[in-house]
């Protein structure tokens, strides 16, 4: 009973998003553009005397970027809603309702993310196949990858929720999201796998939660390592536990500071 209301909320959001499929497809223009640019870039970089990355040829690199960008752009943007509701005090309306605010937002996030991811994955596969052809991947590997992508998106939700809830204490959370975006870019390995980084930076990236949002699932697509899969999933679950506790803690502390004026 507890979970069913959240599943229902997620389903409603999923259906609401599918009603605007034209908008959603138009929104993939940027994804298409980025992949096109990267196909051109790596064609130049990965030429005969060009850049060599351990285990990543031109084809693997394109598929890696297809996966990392799909996750990056397929995530629903819930930060504006949470930050606005905290700043305006509209969050007070949810306090009396029979759900946990973060659970409600999590359900909304998944409803929209599911549609966005499906569309981005379809577009990404089409572009990568056209550009470089298929890569070797089995059904079992795809199942294992789906688990990692799901955990990556949960991790992203928790990081975004933590930053958004800072609106209880600071005027504007938007600049923090610019930095989060760039942390995903650098430590998350959005444009390049960490194998390309200097050793110290690669170690720092691997120790951060951002790495588990993009790099880990994207690398899993192109270089699946069955022996390391269990450890990877355990690390993702560990970060989810830490950030989940932090988000719930921030929310509990924040609502105590809530001042609502007028009605």
């Amino acid at each position: 009973m507890g979970a069913s209301k959240y599943i229902h909320i997620g389903r409603i959001n999923f259906l609401a998003k599918t009603a605007y499929m034209g908008d959603l497809l138009l929104g993939t223009t940027f994804y298409t553009l980025i992949l096109f640019v990267f196909v051109q870039l790596w064609r130049v970089l990965g030429g005969p005397s060009g850049l060599v990355v351990e285990g990543f040829g031109y084809r693997e690199m394109v598929w890696y970027l297809t996966a990392s960008e799909a996750i990056m752009l397929g995530r629903a943007r819930i930060q504006d809603d949470i930050s606005d509701e905290v700043k305006t005090g509209a969050i007070a309306y949810s306090l009396g309702r029979p759900y946990h605010y973060l659970g409600f937002k999590f359900a909304c996030y998944w409803g929209e993310t599911a549609v966005r991811m499906l569309v981005h994955i379809a577009v990404g596969i089409a572009i990568a196949l056209l550009a470089v052809g298929p890569i070797q991947v089995t059904a079992v590997q795809l199942g294992a990858l789906a688990v990692s992508v799901t955990l990556a998106l949960i991790l992203n939700f928790l990081i975004v929720a933590c930053i958004s809830l800072l609106a209880f204490w600071v005027e504007d959370t938007v600049p923090f999201f610019w930095i989060y975006g760039k942390l995903l870019f650098v430590l998350g390995g959005l444009f390049a796998p960490v194998e390309l980084y200097p050793e110290a930076l690669a170690r720092a990236a691997r120790a951060s939660p951002f790495n588990y949002v993009l790099y880990v699932p994207a690398r899993m697509l192109v270089r699946f390592d069955a022996a390391a899969w269990g450890n990877t999933i355990a690390a993702q679950l560990g970060w989810i536990a830490v950030l989940g506790a932090l988000a719930v803690g921030l929310y509990s502390l924040g609502v105590r500071r809530l001042n609502v004026n007028g009605g």
Binding site: L26, T29, V37, V44, L45, W178, I179, K182, L196
Partner: protein, 270 residues
């Protein structure tokens, strides 16, 4: 109009833009913490953009003749152009929404040029962080490139004019198709995206596109060439294209305005 009269009109427009910018800046600085965080965080945000290229150029010496210095110059020019555009002409990217919602009425009733007035009515203060990054990036080019600074400043101003005009032209689609914010955002993103990668990456028809419909060539690629070797003809080409872009934006807006219908929207402007 006589030459003196034309000069006076231009001076008056420049003063109008400057006064609006000062007013918007003063308004933003009322919230000091927000102002500082927007500028500083945008500066940091832009610094990260160089990270990817730093990683790449550790492994390769050049990309089709472009070195890390060229890429820094590219980001410096782009960030400065973009920053000036959004900080001074902050409504250029929101023009489709303003047109579709009938909010042009207010500007049409006033004696100033409505396009210029609507553009300067808002400032995106984070653009100052982009400009600050542009200055830092130019400094990173090193002492031997110091002589290129005046050229980079002039081309950054021209780039701001091109980017603003491009957004206006894309935004005037709203006069013809109604809601055009999404498509306008997409083409704006496309221009920015192409402007953040070295020119040699693109070939054939794409290269032609970048010197015509998506003018990244005039906004960043040609200015970068000037850093390597100054060529007065290249500078003249950039300035001519900027002037033509401004004229085209004005023409497109006036053409579109003939189809404009008031939103019958009652709003209070404080």
């Amino acid at each position: 109009m006589s030459t003196a009269g034309r000069t006076g009109a231009v001076t008056s427009q420049v003063r109008f833009v400057w006064e609006h910018f000062k007013f918007n800046l003063a308004a933003a600085m009322e919230y000091k913490a927000g102002f500082v965080s927007q500028v500083v965080f945008m500066l940091l945000n832009d610094m990260f953009l160089l990270f990817f290229w730093w990683i790449v150029f550790r492994r390769v010496s050049s990309i089709g003749g472009w070195t890390f210095q060229h890429v820094i110059a590219m980001h410096a020019t782009l960030a400065t152009s973009f920053g000036i555009s959004v900080a001074v002409f902050g409504n250029s990217q929101g023009l489709p929404r303003i047109i579709a919602e009938g909010q042009l009425d207010y500007y049409l009733l006033l004696p100033r040029d409505p396009l210029l007035h609507v553009l300067v009515s808002r400032s995106d203060i984070s653009g100052l962080g982009d400009v600050a990054f542009g200055i830092v990036a130019m400094a990173l080019l090193g002492r031997e490139r110091l002589s290129s600074l005046p050229v980079l400043c002039i081309t950054a101003l021209a780039g701001a004019a091109i980017f603003t005009s491009f957004n206006v032209i894309a935004g005037t689609l709203a006069f013809f198709v109604g809601h055009a914010q999404t498509i306008s955002d997409q083409v704006g993103n496309a221009l920015i995206t192409f402007s953040t990668y070295p020119e040699p990456v693109f070939k054939g028809a794409v290269r032609v596109l970048l010197y015509t419909l998506l003018p990244a060539g005039f906004m960043v690629y040609l200015p970068v060439r000037l850093v390597s070797a100054f060529d007065p003809f290249v500078l003249a080409a950039i300035l001519s294209f900027a002037a033509a872009s401004i004229a085209a934006a004005g023409w497109a807006f006036r053409r579109g305005l003939k189809r404009y219908e008031s939103g019958s929207l009652v709003v209070v402007r404080m």
